[in-house]
Symmetry: C2
Amino acid sequence: MIKIAIDAMGGDFGPRPIVKGAMLALKRKLFIPIFVGNKDEILALLPKRYRAKVSIVEASDVILMSDAATDAVKKKESSIYKAIELVRTGEAHGVVSAGHSGATMTLATLRLGRLDGVARPALATLMPTKSGRRSIMLDAGANVDSKAIHIAQFAIMGGCYAEDLLKIPNPSIGILANGEEPSKGNEITKEAFKILNGYKGFKGNVEGTDIFNGSCDVIACDGFIGNLVLKASEGVAATISQLIKDYIRKSPVAITGALLMRKVFKLLKKQIDYAEIGGAPLIGIKGCAIVSHGKSNSKAIENAIYQAITYVDTGVNEHIVSRLKELKNKEV
Amino acid sequence: MIKIAIDAMGGDFGPRPIVKGAMLALKRKLFIPIFVGNKDEILALLPKRYRAKVSIVEASDVILMSDAATDAVKKKESSIYKAIELVRTGEAHGVVSAGHSGATMTLATLRLGRLDGVARPALATLMPTKSGRRSIMLDAGANVDSKAIHIAQFAIMGGCYAEDLLKIPNPSIGILANGEEPSKGNEITKEAFKILNGYKGFKGNVEGTDIFNGSCDVIACDGFIGNLVLKASEGVAATISQLIKDYIRKSPVAITGALLMRKVFKLLKKQIDYAEIGGAPLIGIKGCAIVSHGKSNSKAIENAIYQAITYVDTGVNEHIVSRLKELKNKEV
């Protein structure tokens, strides 16, 4: 049975939403959660009927948000470190952490290692679109100062993810740029365009608006840019939501309107809510690591666990290795 | 009196919204619009009582969206070229164009020239924020592959704009990066950070979410990144609006709710609507050029004209030259 190591201590709200998220997942999927963290705290959150269904690995330390990602390798007793070690030793198939994301990515890359042919792993996020189908943007922030070959590899890894996990038969793949024409882009993306030219599904450059209109399944970019686009998008959604709330508060008529529109807002929230996705996989490592938001609620953790299970189930890693080999042969 | 050259032909909807926008502006501000374009078409849109208040300069050619920006210098009979020439020769104080933005920026840079000390002009956009106060993001797409000194100059030019045009006494200035700590950023932004360190108002790195929360007045970034952030933000807003409309359409209760919330949506639209701002100034050139969206309606053109008038009125260009000189002296 699939075993998922779960960093119980990393989230902003302590182990409660994390343990609860795992219990929710247990109701719908067959897997064994291995909680890593303070045993007493975890047990206290676990009703008796669940105790036989889970494992617990004691970890006495936690990597704090104020710690540098690079110091994570030294904190061998931390919950993230130990959770990732379980994947390295084969005791778990994948890991979910809502802790320090830089530390998780650094540890997963260094301790588990990169897949054959992968120059840099990438953080992949699923973005909501008008069409309802999600697009994948990567790298969303694992690395900065990417070279052209890195961006080309992100595109290919994202394509494998779209095929295997999102079940999109022939995913369209684009490079994020400041215009669709091949002449657009910066030095790096123009070179990445040349590497990907002719690759199956590659449709060339896509623009910022294309991330959310559903016109492209896989969108590759440097992690510095992916982070900014992601944060800016979250900022826009939060600002719109805040402005609507502020305006409503000032008008009784609008309050009534908002009540009648409650279902609409609920559907909208479901569509753009982070918790519906649960986490971003770090693609390109040997194994499976899902990076969840520090503010994850139990629903987000539940969904992150489903993501990890599917990731392991599909064998997307082998797919990535063989596709990257093809690209390399093409280059030679 | 201030004279504003207006490219009457460049917009996606022909001269109608442009001429109308200028007439709206004439009702509220003292200035002389100099329309550049097809004289007959412009006259046909102009009621008799306006004819004495405007000038018209014939231009027989238009730069098409399919034209390359670099070809614009050859199209000397085009409305954009001729409108910019009016600024160069001193016949107009500023220019507004909703035409080919790449052509407008290229022509304005090459024909008007850069201000003393400016390495690269930048396109500055005003972003809506939660607080209601707008933040300025630049470069929004005039250049790609910016070097550190370019980004530092964008920051300083944006600061002058905030002081003079937005009347913010001590604007806070940030560099757009993937985290607030000085250790965050890519190679270019880290170097720009060092150049700006100690500059009045400089608060260090700001994140993507900071663009819309009102925590920073001036946000400097490379134009490739600015373009992507801008387009992605527009995409999010459009997607949310589309999803709300789709959901409403399916429910009579929600339709009623939406009617009661009409005023809220109207206020929201006003807050995030492009037309409320009207255009983005190209900062750093000798003169004043406002780049409007191709899809500008008359209200957008009206506001773009107000922007041009204020830009000319405030003498922001002299301010920029003296501030950049200070930075240079500091470096030496």
